[in-house]
């Protein structure tokens, strides 16, 4: 075992595997493991990946092409150039240790080996079984059994053997499924869903065999009853497993049959064509609205009723006041101008103190003050109020102090009217 201990072995440029390839390899590997794990463990070399199977196949092919004198190990390694030499040597040893390859002459220093045909046939058989889920082999087995029990020279012993074989096959199938359905996760069940495929025709074929056996040899009723029980158990196991798968898949398209990661990888790495192919058989309606005559009539009649002229938004009841307010503003100018003229009395300027004194009490004075301020601030009026420092204080008067200031005709540059 020269290559023993080498962990990672680089393969020469493997093609990018697609999802289908991976699934196929996983299926092959699973069956291969199931069948050969015992042998392989004894030989000290477990099958760890599907590459190993491919290498076995290459080695056997090399022997097939080698002709009469066989191959030495070095020649076989050279023939299998596409794989790394150490791993080919290891597989060569493994194959030799369980008899698939043997020395041409059984002597210690014999270099040439020959390959048996049976392992390659087994390999082909396994590949096919993995691709088709073993169902076709089972169908063939059932057909053969039926031919056996139907043939003219078949004896009751043949019938017993046939019924027992079938009973065993279906018990194994049914047990595996029942255990999976009862105890395993839905993912595991999905991975083994091939056990579920095409089961109805299998059961039907087995029933045919059963009928023939029971018809020809009625004394075999015990064996036949066992076969019937095995078939019924298988059917129950299928129902249970299918029920679990359906419950898990829900209304989706049974996406649970593959692990989530597989779907993600597929979605990420597929070409747009592959993804679009999902919709190949779907037809989408044109976005064409359907207009029924009733809809037309209703729309036309509704259009007549609704006046689409602009309606002013609803107002509160005192909306009438608004125009008067406008008039007030217009009048205000004249009013203020009159007040200003009255206060000024032809003079150009009057003292605020005099104006306030003239108003009498504070109630009137403050109104005058407000008016004067308004006149000062009005943009259309050419009067101004100029405050100065200084306060006149008269303790007895109603406004006991009054700021010094003058109300006068404005000397605004230009004025508003020019």
């Amino acid at each position: 075992m020269p290559a023993r201990g080498q962990g990672v072995i680089a393969l020469s440029g493997p093609p990018e595997p697609t999802l289908d390839d991976l699934v196929g390899e996983v299926a092959v590997l699973r069956v291969y493991r199931q069948v050969f794990s015992v042998l392989a463990r004894e030989a000290g070399a477990m099958i760890v990946d599907s590459t190993t199977i491919n290498i076995d196949e290459s080695i056997l092919e090399a022997f097939a092409e080698a002709g009469g004198e066989g191959l030495t190990m070095e020649q076989a390694v050279a023939e299998c150039r596409q794989w790394a030499a150490p791993i080919v040597r290891r597989r060569f040893d493994v194959l030799r240790s369980y008899g698939a390859i043997s020395r041409v002459n059984d002597r210690p220093n014999e270099l040439y080996h020959r390959a048996a045909f049976a392992p390659y046939v087994m390999l082909l058989f396994l590949r096919r079984m993995a691709e088709q889920g073993g169902q076709s082999e089972l169908h063939q087995l059932l057909t053969l059994e039926q031919l056996n029990v139907k043939s003219a020279n078949a004896t009751a012993a043949d019938g017993v053997a046939s019924a027992r074989r079938l009973t065993k096959v279906f018990r194994l199938l049914g047990n595996e499924l029942a255990i999976l359905a009862a105890g395993s996760t839905a993912e595991t069940l999905g991975n083994n869903a091939q056990l579920l495929w095409g089961n109805e025709s299998l059961i039907d074929q087995a029933k045919d065999v059963h009928t023939v056996v029971l018809g020809r040899w009625p004394e075999l009723d015990r064996e036949c009853a066992e076969l019937r029980i095995a078939l019924a158990a298988y059917a129950d196991a299928i129902d249970a497993a299918a029920g679990r798968l359906i419950a898990q898949a829900g209304t989706t398209r049974a996406l649970g049959l593959l692990p989530v990661e597989a779907w993600r990888t597929f979605g990420r790495e597929s070409s747009p064509e592959a993804l679009a192919a999902v919709l190949d058989r779907f037809v989408f309606d044109a976005p064409a609205p359907w207009l029924s005559p009733q809809a037309l009539i209703e729309a036309v009649e509704a259009g007549r009723q609704i006046s689409t002229a602009r309606v002013p938004p609803p107002r509160s009841d005192d909306a009438e006041a608004a125009p008067e307010a406008d008039a007030d503003i217009a009048d205000d100018v004249e009013e203020l101008r009159a007040i200003a003229e009255r206060l000024l009395a032809d003079a150009n300027s009057v003292s605020v103190v005099d104006v306030l004194d003239g108003a009498g009490d504070w109630i009137s004075a403050r109104r005058v003050l407000a008016e004067v301020t308004a006149i000062h601030h009005h943009p259309d009026l050419d009067y101004e109020l100029v405050w100065r420092d200084g306060v006149r204080i008269e303790v007895a008067a109603s406004p006991s102090w009054t700021s010094q200031g003058r109300f006068r005709r404005a000397s605004r540059a230009g004025g508003e009217e020019g």
């Binding site: 037809v283 989408f284 309606d285 044109a286 976005p287 064409a288 609205p289 359907w290 207009l291 029924s292 005559p293 009733q294 809809a295 037309l296 009539i297 209703e298 729309a299 036309v300 509704a302 259009g303 007549r304 006046s307 689409t308 002229a309």
Partner: protein, 183 residues
Amino acid sequence: MNESETALWWARIRAAGPQRVAPSSASPAGMLRLVEPDVTAVWLLTVVPEGARPSVLEELGLPVLAVEQPNDTARVLAVCMRCCWAEPTGPMWPGIPASRQQVAAVFEEITDRDEAASNRALVAAIRRLAGAGWLLWDEPGQTVRLGPRVATWGSADLSALRELWRMLPSSADIGHGDPETPR
């Protein structure tokens, strides 16, 4: 024409609406052939039984395909039907072309809207309907014709539409300055 070609035509029409083909082309099974008035082309339209039309959706209370501005769209189609269906005793297809002014006049008449808003709604609805095959809109020539899809209206629909035709004013009446047309 074999089965798969027929199926392809059905799918095409279902997916993309009525199809315009050369008049010499073979006709798939179950198709209505609507010949253009000048016989330069033929429209292919699927004929489905009364119980399989889109109107069934309404009867079943299922949502129909939403159309923008459904009322204006329906009004414009009604107006175009009034203008283009020259002889309401006969079939609707092919009808006669109508200028946009004629259509706009009738549309304004039935909607009482100011001209700009009415114009906007009219053009939008005509384009929408032309896209769905209800109208044929010659945008450079500013003329409208009824589209092939009007042939999907059944005979019961047509009698209801004749009523509507009589309700609507014609563009000639409006042109004479008589807004209150006979109803």
